[in-house]
Subunit: 638 residues, 2 copies
C-alpha cells in the first residue's frame, strides 16, 4: 500500500484545531490568560520568593471561572468536569508549580470535599475553596505508606462523650508526607485516617481538620514540618503533618460513603471496608488525569524548544557547502526528536479521549460501575505511559540542545526537574501498570486500586477464559481499517495491519500472564506473582500502547483538513513503527515479524524521520504554546 505524499505545507491552525478538540474554546482562553506576564516562570527565585509568586498566580486564576468549572452549579460551579481537567492540563505549558498548586487546591482538596462530602460540607466550604479564601491540603500519603494507602496508620477515633473524632499519628512513620499547601499556606486539610468507633476499625475515611490558626501558626496538636528544597516544583510548599489528639466535630467526617451517628454507630451504603475505600479513591482520579495531561504539555514545550534549536543551530560543514549543517538535518538528531514527537501526538489524542470519557461517565446521573473501573484503568495506564514518556523525551530534548540545554535561562532544566516526580506521584507508575493488567485480567469485575494478590489469583484461576480486546475509540473506523487490511508484502504502512498487530500482541501477552498466574491458586501466590511481575507490567504497557494507537486513529479520522490529515497519518505511522521497533524483539520471538520485516521496520522509521523532518516546526507550532514559555535565551539570542 503506497503512502500518500505529505503536502509541502500544512496549515498550523488546522492542526491546532484538531488537537484542541472538544474543549478548544477553553484552551484558547487559558492561553490568552497565560500570555500575561503575571504567569512568567521563575528560574532565579529562592524557595520563598517562588512560593509567593505561585500563590499570586493562583490568586489570578481564582479571578477567572476556570477553577469553578469542576464543581456543581448549585454552589457556583460550572458543572463541566472535562473543562476543569483541561484547564489544569493547560497550566502544564507554564510553571508546573502553579499547575500542581492549583491541582492541590481545586482538584484534590476541593475535589475531596465535593466528592466525598455531602451537602453540609458543600454549603459551607465549596465557595471559599473556589475563591481561594480557604487554602487547603489533601493529606493522604504517609511517610510509611504511599502506594499502599489502604494501610495508612493515622487514626480518627470517635468519642461519643464529646461527639468528636480524635485524630492521631501513632508515630513519625504515620505522619502525612509531601503534602502540598501544608508547609506555608494551607488552613484546612482533608485528612485520610482509619476510622475507629466502638473499639472497631472501619477502614480509611476522610476528615476535615484545621491545621493552621488565624495567626498562621499550627493549630494545637498539629505539627507542621517543611519538606524543604525539592528537585523541582519549589513553588509548591510541601510539608509534613503530624496529629496528637486533635479533636474535630463529628461533622468533620466527609460522610458520603460512611457515617457515624451521635452514639457512635457506623453506617455505610457499602459494606466492605476495602470496597468502600476503593470506591472513594475511584472518585478522585481527576488529579491523575490532570497530571498525565500536564506531563504531555510539558513534553510539547520541551520538544518545541528543541526543534526550534535544532533548526537554528549549525555544526560541521557538509563537503562542498559554504554553510554548516543544521542539527535537525542529521539522522541521529531526527532519531532523538521525531519519534518522541509522534508519541507526544499519540498520547495527546489518548488524553483528550480520556478526558471526554471522564466527563461523560462522572457527569452521568447514574454511576456505571463497570465503565467507571475501565475509566480508572485507562487513567492509570495513560498516566504511567505519559509521565515516563515525558521524563525520557524531556531528557532527550535537553541533550539535543547540548550545553545550552543545561542553562536555566533556556528553560529545559526546570521542565526536567519539575516533571521528574510525575512518574512516582499520583500513583507510582510501576504500581499503576500492574493495576491496569489486573483490571484486564479480572475484566474490571474486581475493585480497581486493590492489589491484593490472593483475590486476583483466585479470580484469574476461576474466571479468566482468554483476553478480550475491547476497542475503545472510534470502533467503526478501526473495524473498517482492520477489514481492509491485507497481510501482503507491503503492510508496513497499512493502518489495519498496525491495529491487528497491537491487538494480537496484547491478547497474547495477556493470555500468557493469565497462564502463569493461574499457578498462584495452588502455589505460593506471592512467589508466583513476583516471578511474573515483569510480564504483568508488559501486559499493562502493551494494552496502553494499543488504546493510544486507537485514539490517534480516531483523532485523524476527525480531522477535516486533508493536508493536516495526511501529515498526521505519517506521524501515526512513525508512532506505530517506532513503537514496534522498540519492542521488535518480542515480535521476533513470537513469530509475529520475520527478521527481514523487522529490519524493514527500522528502515521505515528512518525514512519517516526524513519525510517528517521538514514538518517538524509545523508540528510543534500546532501545540500553540504561549510564546513566553518558549522564550529560551538561546533562541532569542540568535
Amino acid at each position: 500500500m503506497d503512502q500518500p505524499v505529505i503536502p509541502s505545507k500544512v496549515d498550523v491552525g488546522a492542526l491546532t484545531e484538531v488537537l484542541d478538540g472538544r474543549w478548544g474554546e477553553l484552551r484558547k482562553s487559558v492561553r490568552a490568560q497565560m500570555t500575561d506576564s503575571t504567569f512568567r516562570e521563575a528560574h532565579d527565585l529562592d524557595t520563598e520568593a517562588h512560593r509567593i509568586q505561585v500563590l499570586e498566580q493562583l490568586r489570578e486564576l481564582a479571578k477567572t471561572d476556570r477553577p469553578r468549572l469542576g464543581f456543581e452549579r448549585e454552589y457556583g460551579g460550572g458543572g463541566d468536569i472535562g473543562g476543569s481537567v483541561t484547564s489544569f492540563e493547560m497550566l502544564g505549558f507554564g510553571d508546573l508549580s502553579l499547575m500542581v498548586k492549583a491541582g492541590v487546591q481545586w482538584g484534590l482538596f476541593g475535589g475531596a470535599v465535593q466528592l466525598l462530602g455531602t451537602a453540609r460540607h458543600h454549603e459551607r466550604y465549596l465557595r471559599p475553596i473556589m475563591d481561594l479564601d480557604l487554602p487547603g491540603c489533601f493529606a493522604m500519603t504517609e511517610h510509611g505508606h504511599g502506594s499502599d494507602v489502604q494501610h495508612l496508620r493515622t487514626t480518627a477515633t470517635y468519642d461519643p462523650a464529646t461527639r468528636e473524632f480524635v485524630i492521631d499519628s501513632p508515630d513519625k512513620d504515620a505522619h502525612k508526607e509531601y503534602i502540598g499547601n501544608a508547609a506555608r499556606d494551607g488552613k484546612l486539610a482533608v485528612v485520610f485516617a482509619q476510622l475507629v468507633t466502638g473499639g472497631e476499625s472501619r477502614g480509611v475515611h476522610a476528615f476535615l481538620v484545621p491545621i493552621r490558626a488565624d495567626d498562621d501558626g499550627p493549630v494545637p496538636g498539629v505539627s507542621i514540618e517543611d519538606c524543604g528544597r525539592k528537585a523541582g516544583l519549589n513553588g509548591v510548599d510541601n510539608g509534613r503533618l503530624g496529629f496528637a489528639g486533635v479533636r474535630v466535630p463529628r461533622e468533620a467526617l466527609l460522610n458520603r460513603y460512611g457515617d457515624v451517628t451521635e452514639d457512635g454507630t457506623y453506617t455505610s451504603p457499602i459494606e466492605s471496608d476495602g470496597r468502600r475505600f476503593f470506591t472513594m479513591l475511584g472518585t478522585l482520579i481527576r488529579g491523575r488525569v490532570s497530571v498525565a495531561g500536564s506531563a504531555g504539555n510539558a513534553t510539547k514545550r520541551a520538544l518545541a524548544i528543541a526543534v526550534r534549536y535544532g533548526e537554528q543551530r549549525r555544526q560541521f560543514f557538509r563537503p562542498g557547502n559554504e554553510e554548516e549543517v543544521v542539527l535537525l538535518d542529521y539522522r541521529a538528531h531526527q532519531r532523538k526528536l521525531m519519534p518522541a514527537l509522534a508519541a507526544t501526538y499519540a498520547l495527546h489524542f489518548a488524553q483528550e479521549e480520556l478526558v471526554g470519557a471522564l466527563h461523560d461517565i462522572q457527569g452521568a446521573d447514574d454511576v456505571d460501575e463497570q465503565r467507571q473501573r475501565e475509566l480508572e484503568s485507562r487513567a492509570a495506564g495513560i498516566k504511567a505511559v505519559s509521565t515516563w514518556h515525558a521524563t525520557r523525551a524531556i531528557q532527550m530534548a535537553r541533550e539535543a540542545c547540548g550545553g545550552a540545554g543545561y542553562l536555566a535561562e533556556n528553560l529545559l532544566p526546570a521542565l526536567k526537574a519539575d516533571t521528574d516526580v510525575f512518574t512516582t506521584f499520583e500513583g507510582d507508575n510501576t504500581v499503576l501498570l500492574q493495576l491496569v493488567a489486573k483490571g484486564l485480567l479480572t475484566s474490571y469485575k474486581d475493585h480497581f486500586e486493590d492489589l491484593s494478590t490472593l483475590a486476583t489469583a483466585r479470580f484469574v484461576a476461576e474466571q479468566f477464559v482468554g483476553a478480550v480486546i475491547e476497542r475503545t475509540a472510534a470502533r467503526q473506523v478501526i473495524e473498517r481499517l482492520v477489514d481492509a487490511s491485507h497481510d501482503d508484502e507491503d503492510v508496513l504502512f497499512d493502518r489495519g495491519w498496525h491495529v491487528k498487530l497491537f491487538e494480537d500482541r496484547e491478547e497474547h501477552v495477556l493470555d500468557g500472564v493469565a497462564r502463569r498466574l493461574r499457578r498462584a491458586a495452588s502455589e505460593d501466590p506471592f512467589e508466583v506473582f513476583n516471578d511474573a511481575q515483569d510480564h504483568v507490567l508488559r501486559a499493562g504497557r502493551v494494552h496502553v500502547e494499543r488504546i493510544v494507537l486507537e485514539a490517534f486513529v480516531a483523532g485523524i479520522d476527525r480531522c477535516p483538513d486533508p493536508d493536516a490529515k495526511a501529515l498526521l497519518d505519517h506521524l501515526c505511522d512513525l508512532y506505530v513503527l517506532s513503537t514496534v521497533e522498540a519492542d521488535r524483539a518480542w515480535f521476533l520471538e513470537h513469530g509475529r515479524l520475520t527478521a527481514a520485516r523487522s529490519k524493514a521496520v527500522v528502515a521505515a522509521v528512518n525514512d519517516l524521520c526524513t519525510q517528517l523532518r521538514p514538518h517538524a516546526r509545523t508540528l510543534v507550532d500546532a501545540f500553540a504554546i504561549p510564546e513566553q514559555f518558549l522564550d529560551a535565551a538561546f533562541l532569542s539570542r540568535a
Copy 2:
C-alpha cells in the same frame, strides 16, 4: 555449564580491594580526606554561597599532594598521571561541583599549560597553578562551536611591530561559552583561537590571556558574562568570555606544537593544520577520562542510596505475613537496580583499565601514535557509555525511591542534576560514539577527532578489508575462555560464549557499516553518512560493550578471594545477559539467537536478579563511599 553457587556471605573488603585496584592507596587517602565536614555537600545554598564553599573545598584540596600528581616532578609535580585522574574521579563521590572545578583548574587549565606549553610556561605558571594561587580557565568552546571546535572563530593575530598577539571575538557567536572558573574566580585563561600571521591562518592554537585584573574586574578588552543558574553544578562559576583587541606578548602562545618567530614566521613540527590541532586535542583527554570516572562514582552513590532504601522501605503485605514486603524483594524493583549495578561494576573495571593505559601510554618516553589514538578512542567510547549509563541509572534510582527520592535532603536530586551535563560536555556523546566507529573503520590510521566525511569515506573505500577484533585486556584469559567454550544447549552462562557473541556482533555491525559507507566514495558522501548514522552509532556502542566485558573478565581474573570472585562472576553474567537482552532484537534478526534462546536470556536475567538480590548491600558497600555522602535523611530517619 553449571554456574558455581554464590557463597552466602562475601567479604566486603575483598571486593573493595579488587575494585580499588592499581591506585588503591590513593583512593583510600581521598576517602579519608572526604570524610571531613569541609567536604559536605550543599543542597540548600544559593549560587554565590555554593561557589564560595566549593572554592574553599578546592583550597583544602590544594593543601594535599593530589592536585600535583599529574605534573612533572621537576616543577613540584608527582609524575603520576593515573593517580591524578583517579584522584579527580574519587571526587565524584562528593559534591560534583568540586570535581568539575578541580578538573577545570588542574586538569584542563593546568593540563593545557603543561601539555601544550614549553619550559618557559612551565617554569612560570605550574607552581602557582598547583597551589591555586593562579586560578584559571580553559576557554575552548564558543557559543557557535562546541562539537566542531576546529572551526571556532576567535582569532589571535600576530603583530610583528609590537611582537604581540591580538585576540578578537568577531561576534557574539564566537564568544567563549560555559567556561568554568570564568564568572567569578579565574585570573588567566588558556584561550583557543585561530592563529593568524602574515595574513595567513594557521589553525587553532592556545594562548595564555589574562582575564581578570588584580581588582577582580575584567582586563580591558575582555568581557565577562555569568552563565547564571544551571540545572546543576551551581558551585562552578561558568561564564562567557569575549575579546576585543586584547594584546598578549608573543610568549603567551603555548608553543609546543607551533610557534611564531619575532618577525612573524610560523613554524611547527607538524605540517598539516588539522593534524596539528587533533594532536593537541589528543593530549588533553585526561578531562574526558576523569568525567567518565566521576560519572561512575556518582552512579555508585545513587545506587548505594537506592539499595539501602530498597532494603528498608516496606510496602504491601504478603498473604499470610505480618510484616510488609521490602521493596528490593519485588522483581520489578530488582529489575530496576540489579542490572544497573552490574553495568556499574563492568564500567568500573573498564575505567580502571583505561586509566592504567592512559598512565602507561602518556607516561612513556616515546609517543606511540597508534596506541595514543586507540586510547583516545577508548576514552571517548567509555565516556559516552558511562555518562549515558549514569543518567539512566540515577534516574532509575530516583524513581526507585519514590517521592522521597525527590527531596533534596535525600541527595538524589543533586546527583541527577549535576551529572546530567556529563552526556554532552567534554565531547557530546553522540559525536564521541561516531568517532569511536571512525577509529575502528580506519584502524586508527586517521587522526582521531577529525570527523571530516570525505576523508573517512575515501579511507573506508580504499583500505577497509574487514573488521579486526583486537582484544584489549587480559588477552590470554579471554582466549582461554573462548577456546574452552562449546556452543551446546547450555551456553548462557559460558563466559567464552559471551565473549564470542560480543566479538561476532561487533565484527558484523562494523562490516555492515563499512559496506554502506563505501558508497560514499561515489555518491554524495554526506547523504550516505547521514543515512547510516544510526548504524555508525551502533558500531561505536557494540564495540564499547565488548571492551567493557573484556575488562570485567580481566578484573575477575585478578581477584584473589574465591568468594568475591564467585559473586563477581554472577554479576558479570548479569551484565552480559542484560546487555544481550536489551539488544536481543539484533541477535534475533541476524540469526545469532533462536527465539527460544532469546526468551531464555530474559528468564536468566530474572533468575540472576533473584540470586544476586541478597548480595545487593554487599555490592554497594564495596564501593566504600564515605558515609557522609550516603547520609540521606530518609535513611537516618528510619
